[in-house]
């Protein structure tokens, strides 16, 4: 049992090695002049799938070099592309990520992963449009697509001309993906502060600077970015949020979450669907490796926008270099990590909520859902107001101790998960007060909502014994 799937990966690698040797021996034969046919293309240069086209490694060595030892040596560009798109499509259809009535917002950072997500969503939309145009009754509408970019220059300053250029590039990318037309939204991360208080930028800077831990700062920004995306989606009538998170990123997240003590909530973050947000978040590239996405961008000359990238720091940086090292040692390591974490029990919100929307039954029938059985008897989860991760029982126990008779900042702090308490919240009570005042409204509201939600659930439990409908029992 020592290395269950590790062993099987190894055997897989051995097999690959064996294949390579075979190929080498074939090559030798042909090199000796025993060419079997007049065909110029050697056997080992042919795609293993279609067996007719040249592999990427032969046809486009530059692209294949990106994923050395990967699919480049096995597939032709066409088969590689359809394989990758197949993974995307399977994730989308089997988890009911996108339904015809949806309006989908793709979060675009300018990097390769979100670029491919955008591309694939566009291709899917094109097909839906074609089907719509061809169908007689036009019963299935075509889902809408928009693109969002969160501007973090408040925190990571970028020279303004570079920034403007990058935005122009993105606009161009989006406008080239037509028809159908797609909306493009750029919002500064400070927009999570309601627009009436104009000091959002300063408050955001102060808030982020109040976090002394490098990793904590990194993570806080991540949470704030999600809040901005949610806000863009909500304000513009989107119903789903597509992220470009790929296997490699998720593998890193599995380890960072473990290292930060977030073992309980980890299962929530790595599923195809995460509907704990007001606008459900979906990860259709969950099964695609970063290398594959990079290679596709290179093959299809998908433009990416590089300027606005910040390397991970602290623990997140350490973990990504560790995972990189592991991946070099064994090319299936990232998959194994994600597969391990995939075996953890997901939460009830890790699926698209059922709607009573019978109009689209036709589309629904095609969805092979891997149903996660909702366990209705479970209490609603309580969530950390900062990172929105579900709290474990031990977290909740420590919470109950500090329920009454404290300042709102203290009560807020006690509602956060242990990880956020350690790496984001200030330790000094006075700086905690300041920090609390700097928090954007959605986070503060989440702390208050959590309370109500729990209260409501408790009330439901004792409903039959209550004599009055009002909270205070009068």
């Amino acid at each position: 049992m020592a290395c269950g799937s590790g062993g099987s990966c190894q055997s897989g690698c051995y097999k690959d090695n064996g294949d390579e040797e075979d190929q080498h021996s074939q090559k030798k034969e042909t090199a000796n002049g025993v060419a079997t046919s007049g065909n110029d293309v050697n056997n080992q240069d042919l795609c293993v799938k279609c067996k007719s086209n040249e592999t990427i490694a032969t046809a486009n060595p530059a692209a294949a070099a990106i994923a050395s030892g990967g699919d480049g040596g096995r597939f032709c560009a066409e088969c590689f592309r359809s394989n990758l798109f197949g993974k995307f499509r399977f994730a989308v259809t089997s988890n009911a990520m996108i339904s015809p009535s949806d309006n989908v917002l793709v979060a675009f950072s300018g990097g390769t992963s979100s670029r491919v997500a955008l591309q694939f969503v566009h291709e899917m939309q094109c097909k839906a449009q074609k089907n719509f145009d061809a169908s007689r009754d036009r019963s299935l509408p075509v889902f809408g697509v928009g693109v969002a970019f969160v501007d973090e220059s408040d925190v990571y300053p970028v020279p303004s001309h570079q920034f403007d250029e990058a935005i122009e590039d993105m606009k161009l990318i989006v406008s080239n993906l037509t028809p159908p037309r797609k909306g493009f939204h750029v919002a500064p991360i400070a927009s999570i502060y309601s627009s009436d208080s104009g000091d959002g930028h300063d408050r955001l800077k102060e808030l982020v600077n109040a976090v002394s831990d490098v990793t904590g700062k990194d993570d806080l920004l991540l949470h704030l970015r999600m809040l901005s995306l949610q806000k863009i989606a909500r304000q513009n009538g989107y119903t789903k949020l597509v992220l470009g998170s790929c296997t490699s990123m998720i593998a890193c997240h599995v380890l960072t979450a473990t290292v930060k003590g977030q073992g309980y909530s980890l299962a929530a973050d790595i599923q195809y669907v995460d509907a704990r947000w007001e606008i459900p978040v979906v990860l259709p590239l969950r099964d695609c490796l970063k290398q594959e996405l990079d290679m596709l961008c290179c093959l299809d000359s998908l433009n990416v926008v590089k300027v606005l990238h910040n390397p991970h720091s602290g623990i997140n940086g350490l973990v990504s270099s560790f995972v990189k090292l592991l991946q070099e040692e064994n090319p299936s390591r990232e998959c194994t990590i994600v597969r391990t974490a995939g075996k953890l029990t997901p939460f009830h919100f890790n699926r698209i909520p059922e709607t009573d929307d019978h109009a689209h039954l036709a589309s629904r029938r095609r969805q092979k859902k891997f149903n996660l059985k909702p366990n209705e008897s479970l209490p609603p989860e309580s969530f950390c107001p900062i990172c929105n991760s579900p709290l474990s029982k031990s977290d909740l126990l420590s919470l109950n101790d500090v329920e009454n008779g404290h300042s709102s900042a203290e009560t807020f702090g006690a509602k956060c998960c242990l990880s956020c308490q350690f790496q984001i919240l200030p330790k000094e009570p006075s700086s905690m007060e300041d920090f609390y005042l700097l928090l954007p409204q959605p986070i503060v509201a989440r702390a208050k909502d959590g309370n109500h939600c729990n209260q409501r659930w408790l009330r439901e439990q004792i409903q039959d014994c209550l004599l009055s409908d009002s909270e205070d029992g009068t």
């Binding site: 590790g6 062993g7 350490l318 040692e329 194994t336």
Partner: protein, 355 residues
């Protein structure tokens, strides 16, 4: 929290616990500057709390301490006998050592254990591979070479400890696994996709359904603090690596954990907490527990792993039970270990320093 390396924090005038004496060290777990006496106190007290909170022992129990002569088990023996006296656990403590028969390594470390026997006044029992299996590790390595030898050693040791414990008629076996070891195991199980082990590797007591339960009183104790404790107390321990796996201590995962600890000391505890809180459904099927038809030891297969390996040795087919296809139990065995020389993701393949 994450201070740059090499920047020495200002030395405080007084110990941050007692506020009276001069601080002598920076506590690895918390980075608090404390004096030596307070370090002993918190170190021992934490272990006492772990023992009490988890009800590791009951009064009147006979407990064997797996003693290799290395730092972890030496400190464990010292601290356990100390706490047993101080807090009246009412335990009968024993030292249990396994002699793998490795000249130049185990013979020397056993000398250390024999000195510990006298120093701490704990009766010692040594069980040897030669007596139990008829083979020493030296002979095994001579036959099979330096590849897979750790598999033999590991499988044999596990059973040897149980047999030794049975001879001593003890109720429990305490091992010196520390927090770093457990954090490393959690990571490794994630890296290799072993969800069943991931779910149980953080339990402080294991094998409660088996003949002799094992427990890890050092589950939350940092390796660095163990070394520090042994250093300041001038405990007599043996610190040489096994000669058959000299590089075993440099796994990717171990290095990663050391880097993490430097950046954020509490990361080790956080990994363990994650391991404890992972949502793993209890319905995950466990291998059925049976007994070996040959020796009667617990086994999920027809023959236990040690018997399969031993059969291979005795029949001159040492690959038996190592390669997946040729196992005696038609099921494939999965204890495929990589060779020693190459850099591996795991570090302690063979538990060089403790069991």
């Amino acid at each position: 929290m994450e201070e740059a390396q090499g920047v020495k924090p200002k030395k405080k005038a007084f110990c941050s616990i007692c506020n009276q004496r001069k601080p002598a060290l920076k506590r690895p777990k918390t980075l608090d500057q404390i004096c030596r006496e307070c370090f002993y106190a918190v170190f021992e007290d934490e272990i006492h709390r772990v023992i009490v909170d988890n009800q590791l022992f009951k009064p009147g129990e006979r407990v064997a301490i797996g003693a290799s002569g290395g730092k972890d088990s030496t400190v464990l023996a010292y601290v356990l006998s100390e706490l047993n006296r101080r807090h009246n656990y009412g335990l009968d403590l024993f030292l249990l050592s396994v002699d793998e028969g490795i000249t130049g390594y185990r013979d020397d470390s056993l000398e250390t254990v024999k000195r510990n026997e006298i120093q701490y006044g704990l009766p010692l029992k040594v069980v040897s591979y030669k007596d139990l299996y008829g083979w020493t590790m030296d002979e095994i390595v001579k036959l099979i070479g330096l590849k897979n030898n750790c598999t033999f050693c590991g499988v044999f040791r596990r059973q040897a400890l149980d047999r030794g414990a049975a001879l001593l008629k003890v109720d429990k076996l305490a091992t010196g696994h520390n927090a770093d070891d457990i954090a490393e195991t959690v990571l490794l199980n994630i890296l290799r996709g072993d969800i069943a082990r991931l779910s149980r590797c953080t339990s402080i007591t294991t094998g409660e359904d088996g003949p002799i339960p094992r427990c890890k009183p050092f589950k939350y104790t940092y390796e660095k603090e163990i070394v520090m404790y042994a250093y300041f107390k001038r405990l007599d321990y043996f610190s040489t690596e096994c000669i058959y796996s000299p590089n075993a201590y440099r796994g990717f995962a171990r290095e990663f954990i050391k880097d993490l600890e430097r950046m954020r000391p509490r990361a080790i505890l956080d990994i363990i907490r994650s391991g404890e809180n992972f949502r793993i459904s209890t319905s995950t099927k466990m291998p059925e527990q049976g007994t070996c038809e040959r020796c009667g030891y617990i086994s999920s297969q027809k023959w236990c792993k040690a018997c399969v390996l031993l059969e291979g040795l005795n029949r001159g087919l040492p690959k038996l039970g190592i390669n997946r296809s040729r196992g005696l139990n038609s099921d494939h065995t999965k204890d495929v270990k990589r060779s020693n020389g190459t850099k591996n993701i795991e570090s302690k393949q063979c538990g060089t320093l403790d069991f």
